[in-house]
Symmetry: none
Subunit: 203 residues, 4 copies
């Protein structure tokens, strides 16, 4: 069972991560930020260094936290869905909906990175697992003849690309995102692309 100390400590950690997400989303990785994170988290600057070794570690902690969350919720929904079409929808919805809940995180992903040699490529790694699952589902459906034969991994990445683009556009827009509607539009497009050619069309 957790001691009170542990509870407090975990609370602090997550407060700091939360504050850092806000601040990083505001201005990228650079720029006098430790002060702001501390203020936002309601602690003194020195306290940050009790919980994290340095600025980079805080940054990583934010990404790790949010990316893990995204990855896990994606996989969960992917597993729960049955049938390829539902799986594709689940995959896209997982991301579109998280983007609405946690705009700040997607804003961070959308902007900075090279600052740390971390990120953009790391981002791909976090993505990889759900993408590979999606690819597997595509492959299986192709084997069953439900969809036409296409490189399943490339296809999965295209689904990612379209979802990401949609999210980015929604972050720039002032109007509220509409995950369900966006998902259906994408799904319609993708599903059509995947259809096997009508057998009799040849002739």
């Amino acid at each position: 069972m957790k001691t009170k100390q542990q509870v407090v400590s975990e609370f602090r950690r997550s407060e700091i991560i939360s504050a850092a997400r806000t601040i990083f989303a505001r201005g990228g990785f650079n720029a006098g930020i430790m002060d702001e994170i501390a203020r936002e988290a309601g602690v003194a600057k020195g306290t940050l260094y009790l919980y994290f070794k340095n600025k980079t570690e805080i940054y990583k902690a934010v990404l790790d936290h949010d990316m893990r969350e995204l990855k896990e919720s994606t996989i969960e929904r992917l597993d729960a869905a049955t049938g390829l079409k539902n799986k594709i929808r689940a995959f896209m919805l997982a991301r579109l909906e998280r983007a609405r809940v946690n705009r700040e995180f997607f804003r961070i992903m959308d902007s900075d990175s090279r600052s740390l040699s971390y990120t953009r490529s790391q981002y791909r790694d976090w993505l990889r697992e759900p993408v590979l699952q999606l690819a597997a589902a595509l492959e299986m459906a192709a084997a069953k003849g439900e969809i036409r034969r296409l490189d399943p991994e490339k296809t999965a990445w295209m689904i990612v690309d379209m979802t990401r683009g949609t999210i980015q556009r929604s972050l720039l827009a002032s109007t509220d995102a509409q995950p369900a509607r966006d998902a259906e539009f994408l799904l319609d497009f993708i599903w059509a692309a995947l259809q096997p050619p009508p057998p009799s069309r040849k002739r």
Copy 2:
């Protein structure tokens, strides 16, 4: 007619832009860079300020230059192509090929940005014009019944998204990009998605 002065001056400007592109691609917008740009451009640091007001202006100049180039070459090829399928191919190839020639620029686009409140959204603006032309082509084709009815702008953006994703992945990969092959893969996918439902499919 240009004076010799002007020629020299323009040459300097473009030397600086070229140097800055290299340096920015290396390390993002931040981090002790003015010195490096100056060295790379073969001028003294103070000289940079004769040609540009400050670091941000240099950064913008790089993006403006390369984005204009990208935009213009895209539009040119788009205009030259006849038929929707060729136009889509032209649009994608314009980007895929530039990404091979000017990796540094796409690397910049792929990484940093929030550092200046410029970029990602600015990027969209630069994109908009060719995208709208592509959308117009889609709309026209839909009117003629060559493809099914889909929101043309959204569809055009999806083409952009997939192209961009493909480019990003090729930047991360160690192997050489293959614009033509990539374009065909995308085109196959997109073209299938755009097909009107076979009239007889109903029954």
Copy 3:
């Protein structure tokens, strides 16, 4: 009679002093040290402040403790010795031997100091009493004609200087110090310097 409380309290104090000596000898007065002292003493950082007002006080306590010890043992041996030669030897041996037992303290003395405006001059004060006793012995011997007339205090300080130099060199050396041998070398030198001129030498 001491209460159990007092005994515990004194024990803690001396544990802390002992830990502090080790740490100060390691790195001088500055640099993240309170944590280390606490760990070395096996108490929490806050506890240090129950026993000492601040870092400087701990530092002083170390010096006070060790200097008092040095002073007292010096005076003791000085008193116990009879005859000037033996007194000089006793004086030097007291220091040379302590330097072997308590290298850490001499290392502290040998290095830092200005850090606190304390020390080097304070050091002189602690030294003064035994030095004055040595000077008194020198004066008395001079009065008896056992040695020639020389400013006794200055002479005593020179004995101190040579002893100190010898100790410092032994701290830097990797080989073990040899107090007895060193003392005899110094004594031979000093004793020769103190000899009255042979009465008949004049002529």
Copy 4:
């Protein structure tokens, strides 16, 4: 021939060294010092970093400069002097007089050091050369029978120890140092210690 640039640059460097000496003598190596050195040198903080890589380098530059000066003047005077007695006097006077001219430097030497793992032992290295020359002179005199046989290096270090002690005491004293008088006192003491035993003393 030196360009104006070089002259200015060398002037700056030595201004900074001079300022640093003053500041270091005031407070040891630690404590917010870069600001003070800059102010004392009449330049901006950033300028310090144009001339020196970091604080440690400035510190070393001060010591290198002053120690080289001390070493060179000592060797010079040692060479110029003829006869052992004059050489010993020259050696001591070189130091005693520099200590009067450059109190700050000797104050630095007298205090801090462990802060950088540099110094105290480095100090010995700088000293070594003149000390070895002095030792050589002692050895030669012993060979000629002018003085008695004593370990020449140890003897030379004792001369150093006494000189150093004398300087330290003069730094603490409020009255002006009197190099000539101090040197004669030391010389009298040392010279007596070095005398060969009168041949007839045996009996």
